[in-house]
């Protein structure tokens, strides 16, 4: 209990005193996570729509892999990315290992299946008749797509939130491919692991509150976007 209060106090101290290191770590966390989820959305949304609305050869196999990917353990994703980026690996020349880009890659790998699969599920539930009706109203393909995206706003944002939750909570892959390097790849989750291993529970706890606040803020913004303007 004492530790909990200490942790909250310390978190406030860190934020109020404008601790530069904590600020940098938080900012990096925010950047890495938002970029990951942005890219996952930019790829996953169209892919999910394609899988949800069309039927093509190999679609079910692809969907199967994506659904398996939803449960991909971050450390496995981390391991794959690490091996890919090793100096001796296929992408070794890019020297991306232990960089924020590597973390983004791993986070995309774990969040893309979630965004894609949940988007696909939403679009698959649109009835043939609804599609026919929209077409009959004189919509072009693009207009149909825009109407559907607006109609499924709630489900799409839920998919993005689920992906974001995965990304911000993830630590195994970030540790492995990022290396927890101060000022470079140290993000909130990896810092928490490190501080716990150092025995600095108060700092770890304080950081956990900061992490939760960041997650809360982003999720709240997305929820607001999702739930606004529902006319009765």
């Amino acid at each position: 209990m004492e530790l909990l209060i200490d942790g909250i106090k310390k978190a406030f101290d860190m934020i109020l005193s404008g601790d530069r290191e904590v600020f940098a770590i938080t900012w990096l966390t925010l950047k890495v996570c938002l970029i990951s989820i942005l890219i996952s959305t930019l790829i996953g949304l169209p892919l999910g729509i394609l899988l949800g609305l069309t039927r093509f050869k190999g679609r079910r196999i692809l969907l199967l892999f994506i659904n398996i990917g939803m449960g991909l353990p971050p450390v496995v994703a981390g391991l794959w990315i690490t091996m890919l980026l090793w100096r001796s690996g296929p992408l070794g020349d890019l020297t991306l290992l232990y960089s924020p880009t590597a973390i983004v890659m791993a986070q995309i790998l774990v969040s893309l299946p979630i965004v894609t699969s949940l988007t696909c599920t939403a679009f698959q539930q649109i009835s043939e008749k609804m599609l026919l009706q929209i077409k009959a109203l004189g919509a072009t393909r693009m207009q149909t797509l825009i109407i559907l995206i607006k109609q499924l706003k709630i489900a799409i944002l839920a998919a993005i939130m689920a992906g974001f939750g995965r990304v911000i909570a993830e630590v195994g892959a970030a540790m492995m491919v990022g290396g927890n390097i101060l000022g470079d790849t140290r993000i909130l989750t990896t810092t928490i692991v490190m501080e716990v291993s150092k025995g600095n529970f108060d700092i770890a706890l304080a950081l956990s509150f900061i992490l939760l606040s960041v997650a809360l803020l982003i999720t709240a913004a997305l929820t607001f976007l999702q739930q606004r303007k529902r006319i009765s």
Partner: protein, 289 residues
């Protein structure tokens, strides 16, 4: 219409973040900001694979910025177990190693995977155990203490992660011809900090380096030092370069600089001073050849 604007704002925000990330490498650290004022060529990157004890004790947070500033190098410190660090060196995934398992290091050096092998510093291992000390071990003879622990089957918590400390512990068991197995022998597979916490919860004995112990002692009030000071307990750190002839992507220029930096007398003084303020004693001692 309002909705459209909201989306646009969100999108713009994300783009802003995206563009800001384009040059993450240089923007974040305070050190990088200083660099900006004095125009210098872009720093080269060097990967240092080391053990958790050097990072968790905070020593590297002092040494690495010193080195970076002097040499315009960006050091990427990867803190892992000694076993993994040596493996990274062997595979050419790191440029320079700072580790503490002499027997294992020797193999790597003998195989020609590492060169420029230099002794840097030492501290010591200690055996800590529950304050009640059920096995009744004491003194400075670690081998006798291990034998007693095995005989009494008192709970022993091992790192079990192929780290330098783990290698040290296994070496002692082997020397005494004991195969530690059974309920009393707990293997955590985790870092020193977590392993100490497990030992505190389970009231077990654990072999640890002194630096980590001093840093963590405040959280471990059920444990105390029971064996310390014997010559078998010396914990020696070596620095070495990965052999550039074996891997063409190795940054040997900066690695060589780092080895020289570590054995430089100025650096050695910093090492010995480190921790005196906070713990009243040094965490590492000068020990060059």
């Amino acid at each position: 219409m309002l909705r459209k604007r909201y989306f646009a704002v969100l999108f713009a925000l994300m783009l802003l973040v995206l563009s800001a990330c384009g040059n993450t490498d240089t923007k974040d650290t305070a050190a990088a900001k200083e660099k900006k004022t004095a125009p210098k060529p872009a720093p080269t990157e060097m990967i240092l694979a080391t053990t958790t004890s050097t990072q968790d004790s905070g020593l590297l947070d002092v040494l690495v910025p010193m080195f970076e500033k002097e040499n315009n190098v960006k050091v990427k410190t990867i803190a892992v177990g000694t076993g993994q660090a040596l493996e990274m060196g062997t595979k050419g995934e790191a440029d320079v190693l700072l580790v503490h398992a002499p027997a294992a290091e020797k193999e790597v050096v003998d195989a020609g995977n590492a060169i420029n092998y230099k002794r840097v510093m030492y501290n010591d291992f200690i055996l800590v155990g529950p304050k009640e000390n059920p096995a009744g071990v004491s003194g400075d003879d670690i081998k006798a203490a291990f034998k007693k622990l095995a005989d009494s089957k008192a709970t022993f918590v091992s790192r079990g992660d192929d780290s330098g400390t783990h290698k040290k512990e296994l070496g002692i068991w082997t020397a005494e011809n004991i195969k530690p197995t059974g309920d009393w022998y707990v293997s955590t597979g985790q870092g020193m900090g977590q392993t100490l916490q497990v030992a505190a919860e389970k009231k077990g004995y654990v072999l640890t380096d002194r630096a980590t112990w001093l840093a963590q002692e405040k959280n471990l009030d059920t444990l105390q030092i029971v064996v310390e000071g014997g010559k078998d307990l010396m914990n020696i750190y070596h620095v070495m370069q990965v052999n550039p002839e074996k891997h063409d992507k190795v940054n040997s220029k900066d690695a060589e600089k780092f080895v020289n930096f570590m054995i430089d007398s100025k650096t050695q003084d910093v090492i010995e001073e480190f921790g005196k303020k906070e713990y009243g004693q040094s965490l590492f001692f000068k020990y060059t050849e």
